[in-house]
Symmetry: D2
Subunit: 298 residues, 4 copies
C-alpha cells in the first residue's frame, strides 16, 4: 500500500463581478484510493458545493466567487492499494466485449482526435501482436519522440499538434498516447493527478497527467511523459481528455498565481506501507464496475 | 402528443473475419418518448446485445458479425409528449447553477472545439442580451451562413471546418451551433434522430441531427439546419457530438448500402394526437433529472 | 513627396558555430522610393553580401556570422513620391488581364490559404460591386473583427488562425486581408516596412506590414491594422506573405534582442516635402512594370 | 538523350458568361529540354495568350472563354538531355551559398508548411550526414509511409494532411518530401510534368508531380511517389508547390472531363536516343543560372 500526504494552494484575484469556478483537486474516492484525512480552507465567504461523480468517484468543487482575493488550500492523506498483474496475462479486448460505459473511451475527443490517427497508428503498430507489450510500445514511441518543455503548449494544443511539434507537457504526452491507442480500438482515458517521485530538476511539483488503457477488463496506468512511476500517482480526475478534468475551469475574469503543491510519501514497514517504486508489473488503481450483461446469443 | 411510425433498414457486407458493430438506431426511452410497439429483425445469426444508458435512455445495439451479408430491419411506433414553454420566460444559467451531469456539455468536444470559438462567439453575440432570443440568433446565424450540400463533409469534419467551408449536412450545422453556444458557456448537446416533415426535395429520408440547449434547467430543441420543425424529431441518441451517437460504429471491414428509412406521422384528433407543426413556443422532449444539491452557503 | 529618416539596430548573440542570416531591412529601391543617403555598420567581421531583386527592388543582406555578438546598425533617408488616384476610377481586373508576374499573387500561400477562404469571401463580399470600395470593405471587415494584441501570434499563425482568434499583430491583419482578396481573385500581396505616425500607445516603433491590392493595373496600399496612414509607410520588402520578407531569417542558433527602430518625417514646404497624412485618395508607392503582351485574338 | 512524344486533350463545358483559364501544359523550354515540334488546337474562337517565365522556361496559356464547349488538344515531341552526376560528389549547401533566386525554395509555402516540420525533420533526419544519401532517405521515408490512392486527396490537402493521412496522389508525395527537405534548410521545389514508364495498373496516364532538390548548386530530380524513373519525366512547370503550376486554373464555372494523355518514348540507337531507364546516378534536367556574386569579405 502507498500513503501520500499532499497539499494544494491556489490563489486568484477575481476581477469580474460574476465568476464561477469548477475545481477538480480533491482526490477521487474509489475502493482502491481511500482518503484518511483531509481539510479544505477557502479564504473568502463564497457559495460552494461539492459534487461527486459516482462512477469514478471524481469530486468537483464548484464556487461562486466575489471580486477580490480567492485562496483555496487543501491538505490530505490518501492510501492507495494498487492492483498488480502479470503483463503477459493481459490482452486487448474486442469492442464487442467492452462494458458499455467504456465505449466513450474508444471514440475521439477534443484533444485526442483518434479518428485522424487511424492510418498512423496502423502504420506504426498495426502489425504488432496485441497486448500489454503493444501498449508499452506506443507509450515508448510517445516518450521518445516528444520533448518535455515547460510552457511549450497551451489550452488549444491537441494530439495532432503534439505529433508534429515533438514537444509538450505531461497532458500533451497523455493526449498523444490516448489518440494512438483509441485509433487501434483500445479504450484509453486521461487521468489527472499529483505524482510523487518526479525529478526535482523538472521544476516545482505540479499537477500531472497519466493514461489508463483497458486490458482484460481492467484499467492499467501508463505514464508516457516518463516523469515518474505509475505507483506514485494520486488520482484526482478521470475523463476523456483534459477538457473533462482541468484542475480549475474558470468562468469569469481572474488573474491567477501558479499552483503551489507539496507531496510526500509516508512508509510504515509494519503496516505494509511502502514507497512508490518502479515495477515491471502492470499497475491498476481502480476496479472497473462489473460489466452487466455481455453478449447473448440471439 | 405526436405519434411517429417509422422503419429503418441497414444492409452490410461484412468482409473481415472479425467485425463488431455498435448501433444506435433504437428510439431513446424517456418519460416524454414512449415506444408503443417495435420489432427488430437481424438477418444473420449474430451475437447481439442491447445496452441502455440509464441517464438519457439511449439504447445501443452491439453486434458481433460474421463475414457475409448482414441486414437489420427495425420498425416502431413512438409517442412523443413535448413540453412547451414561453420563450420569454427562459433564461441562460450561470455555470454555478448547472446540474453536475450537465457540465460536460459546456466543455469542448471532438467536433465542437468551443474553446477555439470564444473570440468569435463573443464578437458575434457577446453584447446581446442572454436568453432564448440569443440562442435563436445563434441558430439563425448558423442557418444563414451555411449551405446544405449532401456529401460535402466527412467523418473528420468539425465545427471549425464548417465555419470556413460554409456548407455541410445536418450534423455539421449542429456542431457549429453547439460550438458557438458552449463558447458562451451555454450547455449544448447533440441529438441524433429521424425527422418527420422534411422537404422531399432534399432527397430520401435520412438520419437527422439536432441541437439541445439548456435554459432555465431544461433542454430545448433547435434545428440549425432548418430542415424541419423540432416537433417532428424522434430522438435516437444524445451526446456531446456525433462521436457519441453515430447510428453505426463499425470495427472491421465492411461495404455498406445507404440506410433506407421511412417515417410517417399518425394523427387522431379524439386522442389528442396531432401532426408535428411549427410553433413559436420553446419545445423540449426530455425532462432533466432533478439537480441534486445546489449551492450551499459555506 | 514624403521624406523619412530612420534607423534600425539589431542585436544578436550567435550561439552556434555556423549561422547564416538573410536580412531584409534595407529600403526597397524603385522609381517611387529613392534613397538619399544610407549607412550600415556591422559590428563583426562577417562575410556579407547584398542581393537585389530586380523586379521589386527588394534588397536582401546575407550574412555568415561567427559565434559571439553580432550587431547591425542601419541609418537612412528615403524620399517617397506617391501616386494618387481617384478611388472611383479604379476597377478590379479579370484574371485574363493580369500581367503574368502578378499571377502568383492570386494563388494561395503559406499564411494566406485563399483557396480555403472562397466560401467565406463570397458569403461576405460576393454580392458587392467590384472596385475600390469593395477592397475598403474587406479592409474594414478585417480591422473591426480583429484586435491588435502584441505577442498574441507566432511564426506559424496563418490567416485561418487569425480569422478564428480575432486578434493578432500587423502581419496577421495583413494575411487575413490578403487571403480574403485572393479568394475573390484580386491580386494581393504583403509589404513589410516601417511606418511613421503610429500611436505611441501601441509601444515602441516596430517593423510594420501592409497590403497591396492591384486595381486598374497598379498596386494600391491598404493598412488593415489601422495603425497609421499608407502614406507613412516606407517599403522594405514585397512578397506573397511574411514567409518571403521577414526582416531576418536566421539559420542557426542565436539569442536576439528586440529591434530598436526610430523613424521621423522631415518636411520642407519649399521643396514640396510634406508630412504623411490621411487621404481619401487611393495611394500607390510603386509603378507596375508594363504588361508585355496582352490578349491576342487567335 | 531521351525523346518523348506526347499528347494532351482537355475538355470543358464553360457554364458562366465570363470564364478565364490559366493553363500550364506546354513543355518548359530550357537548354536541357528542347521542343522538336508541337501543335495546339483550341476548338473555340477564344482570346488566348502564351506567357513565358524566362527564369525556368515555364509556359502559361491564358484563355478567355465563352459559354459552351471548350476543347484543347496539344501534341509535341521533346528531347531531354539529362545531366548525370555521381551522388557521392553532391553536398548540401549552406544558406549563405545559395543563389538569391533559390531562397524562396527554402521558405514555407501553401502546401509545404516546412516551418511546422522542423521538429519532425530533425527528429527523423537531423543526425544523418548531409548529402545526397540524406535526400534519398527522406524520399524513401515518404514513399514507404504513404499509400498511393487515387482520389484520396483534394485541392486543400497539404503536407501536414498527408503526414497524418498516410495516403495521397503524386502531388501529395511531392509536397511532403518538399516540406521535410525545406525544414532541414535544403532548397526543394515542385515540378509538374508527364511521365513515361508508369505501371499501367495505376490507371490511365495522368499529369505527374516530382521534386527537385538543390545539391552542389544544381537541381536534382526525385520521385517520392515511386511511380517511375526521373529520366522519364517531361517538365511542364516548376514552382514552390502545386499552387504555382496547376495544369489548369479555372476562374469561372465549368464542368470538366478527365484529361486524356498519351506519352511514348522514341529511341534511335544511332543518334544516341535511348529509352528512360533507372539509374543510380543523380539526374538533373535543368541548368541553374550562374549565381551572380557570392559572399564578399566586408
Amino acid at each position: 500500500m502507498i500513503r501520500l500526504k499532499f497539499s494544494i494552494t491556489l490563489d486568484y484575484q477575481v476581477l469580474s463581478p460574476n465568476c464561477d469556478f469548477v475545481f477538480n483537486f480533491h482526490p477521487a474516492l474509489n475502493n482502491r484510493q481511500n482518503v484518511r484525512e483531509e481539510s479544505l480552507t477557502i479564504a473568502q465567504e463564497v457559495l460552494s458545493q461539492t459534487l461527486v461523480d459516482t462512477e469514478e468517484g471524481t469530486r468537483y468543487l464548484r464556487v461562486q466567487a466575489y471580486p477580490g482575493a480567492l485562496s483555496l488550500s487543501y491538505q490530505g492523506i490518501v492510501d492507495i492499494n494498487h492492483h498488480y498483474e502479470n503483463p503477459e496475462a493481459l490482452r486487448e479486448m474486442r469492442v464487442a466485449e467492452l462494458p458499455m460505459d467504456v465505449l466513450p473511451f474508444i471514440y475521439p475527443s477534443r484533444y485526442c482526435q483518434s479518428d485522424s490517427f487511424a492510418a498512423l497508428a496502423n502504420y506504426e503498430f498495426g502489425t504488432m501482436a496485441p497486448g500489454y507489450r503493444r501498449v508499452l510500445a506506443i507509450r515508448d514511441w510517445v516518450t521518445h519522440r516528444t520533448r518535455f518543455v515547460s510552457g511549450s503548449s497551451g489550452s488549444a494544443t491537441s494530439a495532432l499538434d503534439t505529433l508534429i511539434d515533438h514537444k509538450g507537457v505531461c497532458r500533451d504526452f497523455a493526449h498523444l498516447m490516448i489518440a494512438m491507442c483509441r485509433a487501434l480500438n483500445m479504450p484509453a482515458r486521461f487521468v489527472s493527478g499529483i505524482d510523487y517521485g518526479a525529478d526535482p530538476a523538472l521544476g516545482p511539483t505540479d499537477f500531472h497527467a497519466y493514461v489508463e488503457v483497458m486490458l482484460s477488463g481492467r484499467w492499467y496506468l501508463f505514464d508516457p511523459s516518463g516523469v515518474t512511476n505509475p505507483t506514485g500517482l494520486l488520482r484526482l480526475g478521470t475523463g476523456r481528455d483534459a477538457a473533462d478534468v482541468a484542475f480549475a475551469n474558470v468562468f469569469g475574469n481572474v488573474s491567477a498565481q501558479p499552483p503551489r503543491i507539496t507531496i510526500d510519501a509516508l512508509s510504515d514497514a509494519e503496516k505494509g506501507i511502502t514507497l512508490p517504486t518502479f515495477t515491471h508489473q502492470a499497475v491498476s488503481s481502480t476496479d472497473q464496475q462489473v460489466c452487466t450483461g455481455g453478449l447473448i446469443q440471439k
